[in-house]
């Protein structure tokens, strides 16, 4: 079982440790609800060091990534990042990723912990150029500072960059108290904030500084429990739930990052065919109208009782305070307000299709 550079910090803060994707990670410290609310109203600090970091470098790095990821790498510029995905030949999602362009010949990819080794092998195998691909996951720790007070917390700690003017999905290589870091205005909570890449041996120092300086702003360290309830309210997909190799990027609602107007890329042909034929299934958001919670694996039926789908994520979340979730449902039953039945432990619970996301922050 792997430990992040922050394992001892989690124990010191009373984090409850669970196994996640082969890592020993804190699921909560003070409680999922308190941590969730801290991020929505103030600021929360997450250890995301388990995420993988892969460098793609060399004169043909852009060309390599253009073929192996679905978003348009040529539209990036230095200091700009975008959400993207590695697809298989069927258009299924090998992983969802963020691609950061440091320079024309130097790209960083952040990948899911559970897929890091698989992604590295996939990229190495499908690389049609001489671009160099290096799995640097062990060299980096990563923390996420999320919430309306995140920028206020982080700005005075940074030298060499003005974070207040850093735009969404932009990043800057700078220093925090003498340590080189990469700070990106990104996150997985639906709030403003940053994700910070830092050398593994400097991660604990950075974490302690953020805990100390965040105290007066009401910062709480947050575990995987709050990370999941926050991302679900914001309808941000999670690989293994909304995304998998068996559902295509279009079915999973990733059509907005599939750029058919670029050259060839893995999965393009299959997705073009599917786009022209029409989608049989789609990812929808739902609310339950009766008491209960529908969770991953619960079946969905139409009002006439015919099985039409399956839940991929579901819980009752603190801010929206409703039982909600996402499900793959046959297209004729996906219009907003369509009534559906959710089969939870043999009991039928009424619900309906709603607009995603469930939660959107006020600007």
């Amino acid at each position: 079982m792997k430990k992040t550079p922050l394992y001892d910090e989690h124990l010191r803060l009373g984090g409850k440790i669970v196994e996640f994707a082969g890592w020993q990670m804190p699921v909560q410290y003070s409680g999922v609800v308190a941590e969730h609310v801290a991020v929505r109203e103030r600021v929360g600090l997450f250890d995301v060091s388990h995420m993988g970091e892969i460098w793609v470098t060399g004169p043909h790095a852009e060309e390599a990534l253009e073929y192996m990821t679905c978003n348009k790498v040529s539209s990036l510029y230095d200091g700009k990042a975008h959400y993207s995905a590695i697809l298989n030949e069927r258009g299924g999602v090998v992983d969802d990723i963020i691609v950061y362009r440091c320079s024309k010949e130097r790209f960083l990819i952040c990948v899911n912990a559970s897929n890091a080794d698989k992604d590295f092998e996939w990229l190495t195998k499908h690389n049609a150029t001489d671009a160099k691909i290096v799995n640097a996951s062990v060299e980096y720790g990563q923390v996420a500072v999320q919430g309306p007070k995140a920028i206020e917390l982080i700005t005075p700690l940074v030298t060499g960059a003005d974070l207040a003017t850093l735009k969404y999905f932009h990043f800057v290589e700078c220093e925090i108290l003498g340590s080189p870091v990469l700070v990106a205005r990104t996150g997985y909570t639906g709030e403003d904030g940053v994700e910070i890449f830092v050398k593994a041996d400097k991660t604990a120092d950075l974490w302690r500084i953020l805990i100390e300086h965040g105290a007066s702003l009401g910062l709480l360290p947050c575990g995987l429990g709050a990370r999941d309830s926050l991302r679900l309210e914001a309808a941000l997909p999670l690989h293994g739930h909304e995304l998998s190799e068996d559902m295509t990027a279009l079915e999973s609602g990733l059509g907005w990052i599939v750029k058919f107007d670029k050259g060839d890329f893995i999965g393009k042909e299959a997705l073009l065919r599917q786009k022209n034929a029409g989608l049989r299934k789609k990812l929808i958001g739902f609310h339950l109208d009766d008491a209960g919670i529908a969770r991953q694996g619960d079946l969905v039926s139409a009002v006439d009782g015919k099985e039409v789908g399956v839940v991929v994520s579901g819980t009752k979340t603190p801010t929206v305070n409703k039982a909600l979730g996402m499900a793959f449902v046959e297209t004729p039953h996906t219009a907003l307000d369509t009534k559906l039945t959710f089969v939870v432990r043999g009991r039928n619970i009424a619900g309906h299709v709603v607009q995603l996301p469930f939660y959107k922050r006020s600007k």
Partner: protein
């Protein structure tokens, strides 16, 4: 962590307390701390007959749903409807306001098979 002496306990982390001819059932402080913040309790209907170790109800955190087993056989004569609006009562006050049901018709012999506070405390290693 609390282990009130006026309760009896099960290895599945439920407690019972005798109140007149009724038996009150809830889950222990240890159980709620393991489950985390509860967001939903699927309460049984009043009048439902439950067997010993039968599923009494389901408590759900944001992460998972967990069965609560009935420590003793009986009939649900009352349920704590306050849990519908505030499942966190179980987290905050597991032995008082966080009670789940009251059972009637419980045989005295069944209660004898339950654990004392001291034995339960040893079981959870506190």
């Amino acid at each position: 962590m609390e282990f009130p002496d006026d309760c009896k306990y099960t290895k599945d982390h439920e407690w019972v307390r005798i109140e007149g001819d009724k038996v009150i059932v809830g889950i222990t402080e240890f159980a709620q701390s393991e489950l985390g913040d509860l967001v939903f309790v699927d309460l049984p209907a009043v009048g439902k007959t439950v067997a010993t170790h039968g599923t009494l109800c389901v408590v759900e955190s944001t992460k998972a749903a967990s069965d609560v087993y009935c420590p003793v056989a009986g009939t649900v004569s009352e349920r704590n409807d306050a849990l519908a609006d505030d499942p966190g009562l179980i987290n905050r006050t597991p032995y008082s306001d966080g009670w789940i049901v009251k059972l009637s018709g419980v045989a005295e012999a069944e209660l004898a098979g339950l654990m004392s506070a001291e034995d339960y405390k040893k079981l959870v290693g506190k």
